[in-house]
Symmetry: C2
Subunit: 193 residues, 2 copies
DNA sequence: GCCGAAAACGGACTTTCCCCCGCTTATATC
DNA sequence: GATATAAGCGGGGGAAAGTCCGTTTTCGGC
């Protein structure tokens, strides 16, 4: 894989844009491969070639948003970005990630797939790596930092992703997110002590 | 829903038994609704009426196994069952649950579904309730015990369920499970302090 | 035992996913 | 600019999920 061919890149962008449109118009579960292809003026085969599987579309959509998030974490202003105390950053990271997941709930759900190994390769990985780094900086005395980071990633991502229905009322969903954020703060504070 | 009709019960049992057979013979992802119906000598409509969706079959299978697990937790011998110190029980619960998930990895994976709200209604619920009870008994000073229980459930269930491929070598999988178990012990010990 | 209503059954039908493979197009090299 | 070749394209087709509705079965009252 040297560089992506121009037509391929154009079509990928086309498809992602169309997917976003459809997402806004009719919702995730009414996006079919055929419809997406037709609306993009492309063939069905092309769609599958690009994304492999239906949930692949949503993974691509999610990765797209995740890139921006990652940037904020790595080079943005503190406390999310570098420059603040590790614990502060950890708390900020949790809050930001919960926000991100809530905003992309529908996409993230649709990206779930019983066959794909990790939740979504790059995304969760970056979360794990980041947590691990912060925990290390904090000097958390865990025997297995990698495992701890993994567990914390799950604790952070999963409740919003899985344990909650998309159609929760807006008010109650906000409240739930907030409860999770406080819980997260509580949890990591205790670990640092 | 007073009581289930006799024919319905018979067919449910039939289908579950057949599903287990097929699971052992050809693996989860070769179980199709048509094949399951045909092999059970029932109509396809019946299968869908019983389980609603493909992953519904696997949820049923999982619930089945979960019932036994739950019994061990609620009325079995300590430290998993009642009679031991809360922290001990918490650790034992984690280890047992990881074991259970590893053993039922294939089923649990197949039960995942982008549409169904919680992972698997009853299962995760019982895990959450149990954790919450133990945390309360331990007097863990969390502002929101329900949230904490939820986060810990996720931390316990998810890594084995999602972050690992089914085809991991046996040896390495055992090791991974063990690392998670130690991590769990570490995590809950720190929370209790 | 019989009867009527409610529940369950079955299999044809529709929709959607995904594979396949001959054709087209971009790009690197001369 | 011509050409070779590797990559991408496209839509037909098979397979599986999920729906629908006429028919059959169960079961609580009589």
């Amino acid at each position: 894989m040297t560089t992506e061919r121009a037509d391929a890149a154009r079509n990928r962008a086309m498809l992602i844009a169309t997917a976003r449109e459809m997402l806004a118009e009719v919702g995730a579960d009414r996006i079919t491969m055929d419809a997406l292809a037709a609306r993009s003026g492309l063939g069905k085969g092309t769609v599958f070639r690009r994304f492999g599987t239906r949930s692949g579309i949503f993974m691509a959509l999610l990765s797209d948003g995740e890139r921006a998030f990652q940037k904020r974490v790595l080079t943005g202003p503190p406390p999310l970005g570098p420059g603040a105390e590790p614990l502060e950053r950890l708390v900020a990271f949790g809050r930001a990630r919960l926000r991100f997941l809530a905003e992309n709930h529908e996409i993230a759900r649709a990206a779930l797939d019983g066959r794909t190994p990790v939740p979504f390769g790059p995304p969760a990985m970056m979360s794990q790596r980041h947590l691990r780094m912060l925990l290390q900086q904090m000097g958390v005395p865990a025997a297995d930092l990698e495992i701890l980071a993994m567990q914390l990633t799950a604790a952070l991502d999963v409740p919003l992703l899985l344990y909650t229905a998309p159609q929760d009322g807006e008010n109650s969903e906000v409240t739930f997110e907030d409860r999770l954020a406080r819980g997260w703060e509580d949890l990591v504070s205790r670990l640092s002590a």
